[in-house]
Symmetry: C2
Subunit: 430 residues, 2 copies
């Protein structure tokens, strides 16, 4: 009989307690699938006394996660504290230096310090695993890092923040403003303590930087992600986009272009009937486009106690089963520093304007577009009661530079009564 695998867990919030519950409830199944038993040895959290739905009295207690990670009676350290720095980082570094494997759900930490942590863990010959860090219940890390490891990935895109997708789909359904639905989501507990991580696109950008590294064998480069949140999306944009056959989604996209690696998180328009367009509520979707194997689409719960805790446990099982995959797929020394692309690849754009209702106004707008070589695919002017006419333009594929320039030029025409809005239309080949 082999000795049990000894676990230390720091962070007993929703996911941490979920991990304890799964390790208890499925102990028999884990033993069958790995040939080993698992023993939770020690836990750490802010408060020892807090009421939790799983008793923790039978475990050792460490008030300092770093001390927990340095113990000599654990084989795997599970970090569920969160935060890109501070004790989460220190405790993971401590565990690695102590020769202990690490499982974490901490996307912010990996996005900011993933390269250093990969180096440290590979040098010390311990594993650093993080299936739960991206898209909760969708095993996208395993799929990219193992199943598709040899496949040449050309683009990865997805909806990776359930809270933003909830807000956008609820706005469309209720026809209420961003502010009302933001409050609703917050009241329901769907948003992070700092909600700008969600609605500002930061959380999606953390996840995208991780996927990008796995997809292209590059160093994690969070600062190279071009981020824009959903705060400026108006109910008008949602309605108009819908009217033109689109839905607005906060998409994370990374692709290797001739100009370098492009990583962007932005609200985009996608066809309403496409798999991404149909994605409702808190569900996540990741599409992996490959050179040889077409597009592989993964959909599932993006968050929640059980899906996330199961992802953590699947990493523990992989470690027990002797996984030898490197942190980001290739040895850290071989991760490349991708040239960061300054501009987005060409795409069609949706442009919304509020026009003075007077002769020649539209001519000035179209002249402005023409000057930047932006050609119009579809245009709609809506019925209006006031003296201001809402105008929607769907362009043919054009450069992001041209769109940026025209957004600066349009107000100078004197016929625009509001800051113009431009959203990228993401072209999907599935």
């Amino acid at each position: 009989m082999l000795s049990p695998i000894r676990i230390g867990i720091a962070g007993l919030g929703t996911v941490g307690v979920g991990v304890i519950k799964i390790l208890r409830d499925y102990s028999n199944s884990i033993e069958i699938k790995t040939g080993r038993t698992i023993k939770i040895v020690v836990v750490s959290a802010k408060s020892r006394e807090k009421n939790r739905d799983q008793p923790i009295d039978s475990y050792h207690w460490e008030s300092d996660p770093v001390n927990l990670a340095l113990r000599d009676d654990i084989d795997i350290y599970v970090e569920l504290i969160g935060g890109e720095d501070g004790v989460a980082k220190e405790s993971i570094e401590a565990a690695i230096s102590n020769g202990v494997h690490v499982v974490t759900a901490n996307k912010a930490l990996l996005a900011m310090h993933g390269n250093k942590l990969a180096e440290a863990s590979e040098e010390r010959e311990v594993l650093l695993k993080f299936e739960a860090a991206v898209a909760g219940g969708i095993p996208v890390i395993k799929v990219l890092n193992e199943a598709l490891s040899i496949n040449k990935v050309t683009r990865v895109m997805g909806v990776m923040n359930g809270s933003c997708n909830y807000i956008l789909t609820r706005m469309e359904e209720s026809e209420l403003s961003y502010e009302s639905i933001f409050k609703e989501a917050d009241d329901l507990g769907f948003l992070e303590a700092d909600p700008t991580l969600d609605v500002g696109g930061i959380d999606s950008a953390h996840k995208l930087a991780i996927l990008s590294s796995l997809a292209f064998g590059t160093n994690v480069n969070f600062s190279g992600v071009n981020v824009q949140g959903i705060e400026a999306i108006s109910i008008d944009d949602i309605k108009h986009a819908s009217d033109m056959g689109f839905r607005i989604k906060l998409l994370g996209v990374c692709e290797m272009t001739e100009a370098g690696l492009e990583q962007r998180v932005k609200p985009c328009l996608v066809p309403a009937g496409s798999p991404l367009g149909l994605l409702e509520g808190g569900t996540n979707m990741v599409v992996i486009e490959t050179e040889d194997s077409g597009s592989i689409i993964l959909q599932g719960p993006g968050a929640g106690r059980n899906p996330t805790a199961h992802a953590v446990v699947s990493d523990i099982i992989d470690i027990i089963n002797g996984s030898k995959i490197k942190t980001f797929g290739v040895p850290y020394k071989l991760l490349k520093n991708a040239l960061v692309s300054d501009f987005s690849v060409d795409a069609p754009y949706y442009i919304r304007l509020l026009l003075e209702d007077k002769p020649g106004a539209l001519a000035k707008v179209t002249a402005s577009l023409g000057k930047e070589s932006i050609s119009i695919n579809r245009m709609r002017q809506y019925d209006h009661e006031s003296s201001k006419a809402p105008v929607l333009i769907v362009t043919h594929s054009t450069s992001s530079e041209s769109v940026e320039k025209v957004l600066k030029e349009l107000p100078k025409t004197g016929v625009i009564t509001q800051e113009p809005v431009a959203l990228r239309i993401e072209e999907l080949n599935y």
Copy 2:
């Protein structure tokens, strides 16, 4: 420097040649990801001289795959011959007895002899891997066997035969008969040499039996799959289903019910706007429903040289990386023999009748349904020029027994002018 991993490949059809190409084109990437080089040592096929787009002169040649599998200079045997018996089976057994790992894409063989092969390989402590056997480019074996191994799966369903899905979607699009589109698919080379494997549902049933074992930890039980093909699907059914908001798909479904394990492959109606309903052409989709992690949907190419060959290569890489997962997730001795459920779980049904256009006819039909306690959700009688009225009925959820009985009773009413058609409507919670 570690010695190369030595490969023997039997079967140099589309997929076999694809595997050679990928092992050549991606040799650098494989070395980076595994720390080992791969060397193809020996190949076998029906004809040595056949023109192939990859030269094979530099490899040893064995005309008998069994001799290839018994060589002492290979570490992994890749079986791509196909067929549920004969030399494919003999050569795999030979490789296992020779202490050589096996990678195969042979679903028929695994469906028929998977239990014995799992036993043999586990006893001999070699790996038997088969990612390419189910849904080509979708890594569903890895997802079920590793990512979700601890998750309690409640139901797995999917479209796992691209040829059938091509036929059904093309029929709807073209409004042509099954016979015409069958011929078209055959001319395009989309069908197996024996097309009844595709359109008769056998190929889907092979795949379902494998997924079922992985999902529920049960012995592979192909003979327990209730199979019905798409040969009897008429263009009328496709049109009428569409008219009621559904699409017809050949679905493989396995679920653990109170009455035992149910495995069925049948043409079913699914909501036209659901992910399964929207699936076009040769694409495959597998939905894994779990107790704790909701529904996880995987979509991708179901066949084709490159996706399938990549799946084979991903198994080779897993073997090199020291995978220790058991063939069907749990040690073969612990695989259960599931009680096979005799009846399908209740569902709504679509029933199509051709009715004599005379007073009281519909009353006789509804009385017949009522006698079996089948209640009607929606009914439509179509405009008709002849004396026969097409009638469609969508029932509330009912038992498969009741439907079978009513199908026998209806002709006895004397008002039905054609064999009635009943198709299950699959209820989806996503």
